[in-house]
Structure formats: structure tokens, C-alpha cells
């Protein structure tokens, strides 16, 4: 499997880089760029969430909470306290990492439904705080966020943001692929395969779960902070339980335990509601339907199912 995996990894990276590089040819106006940037930001969250759900076999129904903490953290530090945006972004992400660790250690001892409920509760608490602490967050109306700045120059404009998000997505995918193919990545997959067998070969399951929980929270917080600075505005709507469900749906639809699947899932399910503007009011119905159809027809997700089909046709 090793040479094949390595080519799949390198090939996948090259394909993703090519798509990111060539996509602007098809992005005829700023609206298209805007959608592409949102795809990239969601993909960063999904790649991290897939590490947790797809590879380590743990569930989180509260990842919009980490996304929101990154967004609001960076927004509040810049808008209310005058921090430089990059420092605020780094501080918010580090704060989320710490919180995810402190919360993750106890709740990751839970399994299955209990873990789902605990992460759900965490996400709900964060979204309630975002909606009610209006002194800091602006409450239900949201708050405006200063743009990202580098060496005193504000980074605005869709093309610059496309480059930033595209580059970051490539980096996140590369780091994730590296991790999965390392002893630590195998330890994560082992937890999914059989937790008791992982323990008897020396894997500290609680510690490894906390690690992947923190890593996925960091990816979400980073994407959240960037989203806030990019769009210049943040509302509690982006922090709700429904957004957590959207993120999980993207991962499941794209393909669990497939990093490129997470990217594809984010791309399809971020674009779909934009294309079908009529369905805007029924967005959650669409997500629900996608989740159900995925579980029934392609339970392994889109990318793994397609990959398996092509592998079978391949007359090796």
C-alpha cells in the first residue's frame, strides 16, 4: 500500500494545488471569488473535523463553537481592545487550543452518544454567550470586525483573500496528510479501529483523543478568525448548533477518513445553497436530505466511494 498511498498523497496535493491555481480562470466576478473563499474556509474546518470524526472515530457536534470562539475572540481583541489583527488571530486560536484541551480531557473519556451530547452542550453554551454578551459581542445583531492587516497594510479584496485562504488550505491539507501517515496518525486510526487494542499496544487513548480534539479545534478557530476578518462582520448565526451540523454533514458527505473528501464535501455543500438560491429558506432541509441520502447510498462518503470504484476498474 505504501507506494500507492504516497502517489495518492502527492497526486492529491498536486491536484488540489492545480485546482486552487486554475480556479480563478472560472471566477468571473467577485461573487464567485466570495463563494470560493467561503469554500476554502469551510474546507479548513472540515479537514480538521475529519481528523476527529473520520480518522479518530470521535464525534463533535460543537465545532461551530470553536469556529465562533476564534471569530469572536479575534474580533473582540481587534475591535474592542485595538490589538493588531494577526496578534489577535493568534491569541484567539491559542485560547481555543487551551479551552479545547481543558474541556477535551474530561469529555473525551465519554463515548458515543455521551460525547455527542457533551460537545453539543459546549457548542450551545458558546452560542448563547455569543448572542447574549452584547457588551462584547454585539449580541444578536453581531459586530463588525476590522480587516486583517500585514505591516500596517489592510488586506482587503477578494483576490488577495483567495490567495491567503488557498495557500492556507494547501498547508492544512499537507500537514494533515503528514500526520495521518505518521505513528501518531496510526494511533488515531487505531482508536477508531479498536480502542482497547490501541491501549494494549501502549497508546494513551485519552491523551491522543485530546490531541486530535485540540488540533481540530485550532483549525476551526483559525478558519473562524479569518472568516470574521474577511467578511468584516460576525453574527451569532455562524456559531449555532445548526452550523455544527452543517460542518459534520460536509465531512460525512465528502467521506470520512478522507482528507480530500473533507475538502470536496465542504466545496459541494458550501456551493450548493449558493447555486440554488431559491432553496435558501430550506437550507437545513437540504443538509438533512444530503445526510440521509449519504448514509443510505454512499455510507463511506463521496470521495472514498469514487476512489474504490476507480480502483476496481483499474486492471492492476
Amino acid at each position: 500500500m505504501s507506494p500507492r498511498i504516497r502517489t495518492a498523497r502527492t497526486g492529491g496535493m498536486l491536484a488540489l494545488a492545480a485546482v486552487i491555481a486554475l480556479l480563478p480562470l472560472a471566477l468571473v466576478n467577485n461573487y464567485f471569488y466570495d463563494v470560493a473563499i467561503l469554500v476554502g474556509l469551510n474546507a479548513i474546518v472540515c479537514v480538521g473535523l475529519n481528523l476527529l470524526i473520520g480518522y479518530a472515530g470521535q464525534i463533535s457536534l460543537g465545532h461551530a463553537g470553536f469556529f465562533g470562539l476564534g471569530a469572536y475572540g479575534s474580533a473582540i481583541l481587534t475591535a474592542r481592545y485595538g490589538w493588531p489583527p494577526l496578534a489577535a488571530l493568534a491569541a484567539a486560536t491559542a485560547g481555543v487550543a487551551l479551552l479545547a484541551y481543558l474541556v477535551g480531557r474530561p469529555i473525551l473519556r465519554l463515548k458515543g452518544h455521551y460525547l455527542a451530547m457533551a460537545t453539543l452542550g459546549l457548542g450551545v453554551i458558546i452560542s448563547i454567550v455569543a448572542a447574549n454578551e452584547d457588551r462584547y459581542t454585539g449580541g444578536p445583531d453581531g459586530m463588525s470586525v476590522p480587516p486583517l492587516a500585514l505591516f500596517g497594510h489592510a488586506l482587503t479584496g477578494e483576490k488577495i483573500w483567495y490567495a491567503i485562504v488557498g495557500g492556507l488550505l494547501l498547508a492544512v491539507v499537507w500537514l494533515t496528510l503528514n500526520l495521518i501517515e505518521s505513528p501518531r496518525g496510526r494511533a488515531l486510526r487505531a482508536l477508531h479501529g479498536s480502542e482497547v487494542a490501541a491501549e494494549v499496544i501502549g497508546i494513551d487513548s485519552v491523551r491522543q483523543k485530546a490531541l486530535v480534539f485540540v488540533l481540530s479545534a485550532v483549525f476551526a478557530a483559525l478558519a473562524g478568525a479569518l472568516t470574521a476578518h474577511y467578511s468584516g462582520f460576525i453574527t451569532p448565526g455562524q456559531v449555532t448548533f445548526l452550523h455544527s451540523i452543517e460542518l459534520v454533514t460536509m465531512v460525512v458527505f465528502g467521506g470520512m477518513a478522507s482528507t480530500f473528501g473533507a475538502v470536496v464535501g465542504a466545496a459541494v455543500l458550501t456551493t450548493l445553497p449558493q447555486l440554488l438560491a431559491v432553496l435558501k429558506d430550506y437550507e437545513m432541509v437540504v443538509y438533512g436530505a444530503v445526510m440521509m441520502l449519504t448514509m443510505i447510498f454512499i455510507p463511506r462518503g463521496l470521495v472514498p466511494t469514487l476512489a474504490a470504484r476507480f480502483a476496481r476498474k483499474d486492471p492492476r
Binding site: 501517515e181 505513528p183 496510526r186 494511533a187 487505531a190 477508531h192 482497547v196 487494542a197 494494549v200 501502549g202
Partner: protein, 256 residues
């Protein structure tokens, strides 16, 4: 000096004494078998010896170090490996990756090294892969190296579990019914494998129902009945023990 010994080891599940005040010692290099009727407490005992269960009372010493109360992964780090009666394969990985994962304790790498794939890690991965292949050869599974584990036959998975446990380089290997569900040929292969491991000096604890297998390879046999030690000794003396015959071996022993 014994490699593993227990003092007054007990496990109670809601009033049921699965293991009661058990004392025994395993000498290094021995093949030590644990037998007993269904429900005698054999698997409970293995779970106690790997930290999966915490004892209700009593202590466990391994190589003169007390392990009582430690977590399972710490038992593994101390040098105790095991296989499972009901397979615990990582079905989301290939056979080779299962064995590579078994090398976890010896392939420690930092998070930064893993994320950035340091050259030192890439080198370590290559040697890990080579070693895993050798282990697959050692248990006779070289043809399955790249196979998805979910596509492998049952008998091969039994041996894959042994290869994965060996990859951690344990000093004590606990095998929970390694021949259960295997045909005669496959059982013979397992016996030869256990003999090869014992010949290399590995201490093996064997929980098994197949009496012929147990009596053939064991240096010492512990007989459990309702969580109690019924008898302990070499295979011949256990086979002749009147209490053992009555409690467990019964017709099978008289026929042997």
C-alpha cells in the same frame, strides 16, 4: 525471580466474584497456561493483567515493579502484550499498518515532527515498515501485507493479532484463546508459532480451551474454577489431579 506475580488478586462484578484471592507467579521464559470451564474467570484474569480491569483487591507485580492501578497503556509500556479472544483488529487499516501500529511504543514522535514530516521521521517510518513486514513473515502472513485487514480470513486475523502484539516487543505475551475457531492445520501452525516464540525466550501466557494444545506446549498450567485456583503445576501433574478431572477435564481427560 518471577517475571509476573500476583498477591490476593480479586475482581468482583456486582457481587459476583469473577476472580478470588488469586496468587501465582510466572517464571521468565515459561509457557504458562490458564485453563478452566467457561466462566471460570480466565478472560477476567487477562483483563486484570493488562490493566483493562482494576482489581477489587490484591496486587500485580511485573519484573519487581508494582503495576496495580496503572492504566492499560502503562501495562503495555511495562512490557505486557496481549491478543483477544474476540478479534480486536484495526479494520480501518491494512495488515501491514496494523503491525506498524503495534510498534507505537518504539516509534514515538513529536507532533511537530509528524505534521511537518521531518526527514528523521521518514527514515524511521521506512525501518518500521520493514520490521512490520518481517513480523508478518514470522507469523506466515507475508502474502497479506498490503491486504485490507477486513478482507482477510479469520485464521489469518488471529495471527495478525499476534504479529501486532509482537511488534511492541513485549516481555510477556498473553494469548487469549489463539486457536479458538481454527481448524486442525491452523491450530498446528499456532502451536508451532508459540513454540518458536518460547524458544526465543519470550514468556507466554496461554488461555485456551483446546486441551491437546495446552498440554503439549505448557511448562506450567493454572486451573481456575469459579475464580479460584483449583490446581497449579506442570501439565502432567495437572492432568492427573483428581479435583481437576472432576471439575473440568472429565470425559476428555479419561479419553486422552
Amino acid at each position: 525471580m518471577s517475571l509476573l506475580r500476583t498477591e490476593g488478586l480479586s475482581k468482583v462484578f456486582g457481587g459476583v466474584h469473577a476472580v478470588q484471592a488469586l496468587e501465582f507467579a510466572i517464571e521468565p521464559g515459561a509457557v504458562y497456561s490458564i485453563i478452566g470451564p467457561n466462566g471460570a474467570g480466565k478472560t477476567t484474569l487477562l483483563n486484570l493483567l493488562t490493566g483493562i480491569y482494576r482489581p477489587s483487591a490484591g496486587r500485580i507485580w511485573f519484573d519487581e515493579r508494582e503495576l496495580t492501578g496503572l492504566a492499560t497503556h502503562q501495562f503495555a509500556a511495562a512490557g505486557i502484550g496481549r491478543t483477544f479472544q474476540n478479534l480486536q483488529i484495526f479494520f480501518n487499516m491494512s495488515a501491514l499498518e496494523n503491525v506498524m501500529t503495534g510498534r507505537y511504543l518504539h516509534e514515538r514522535c513529536g507532533l511537530a515532527a509528524a505534521l511537518l514530516r521531518f526527514p528523521s521521521l521518514a527514515r524511521a517510518e521506512r525501518s518500521c515498515r520493514a520490521e512490520a513486514r518481517e513480523l508478518l513473515c514470522a507469523v506466515g502472513l507475508e502474502q497479506y501485507a498490503d491486504a485490507a485487514s477486513e478482507s482477510m480470513p479469520y485464521g489469518a486475523l488471529k495471527r495478525l493479532e499476534i504479529a501486532r502484539a509482537l511488534a511492541a516487543r513485549p516481555r510477556l505475551l498473553l494469548l487469549d484463546e489463539p486457536a479458538a475457531g481454527l481448524n486442525a492445520t491452523e491450530t498446528q501452525e499456532i502451536v508451532r508459532l508459540i513454540e518458536r516464540l518460547a524458544a526465543r525466550g519470550l514468556t507466554v501466557v496461554l488461555v485456551e480451551h483446546n486441551m491437546r494444545l495446552v498440554m503439549g506446549v505448557s511448562d506450567r498450567v493454572l486451573v481456575l474454577d469459579y475464580g479460584h485456583k483449583l490446581a497449579e503445576g506442570d501439565a502432567d501433574s495437572v492432568r492427573r489431579d483428581a479435583r481437576v478431572i472432576e471439575a473440568y477435564l472429565g470425559a476428555e481427560a479419561r479419553n486422552a
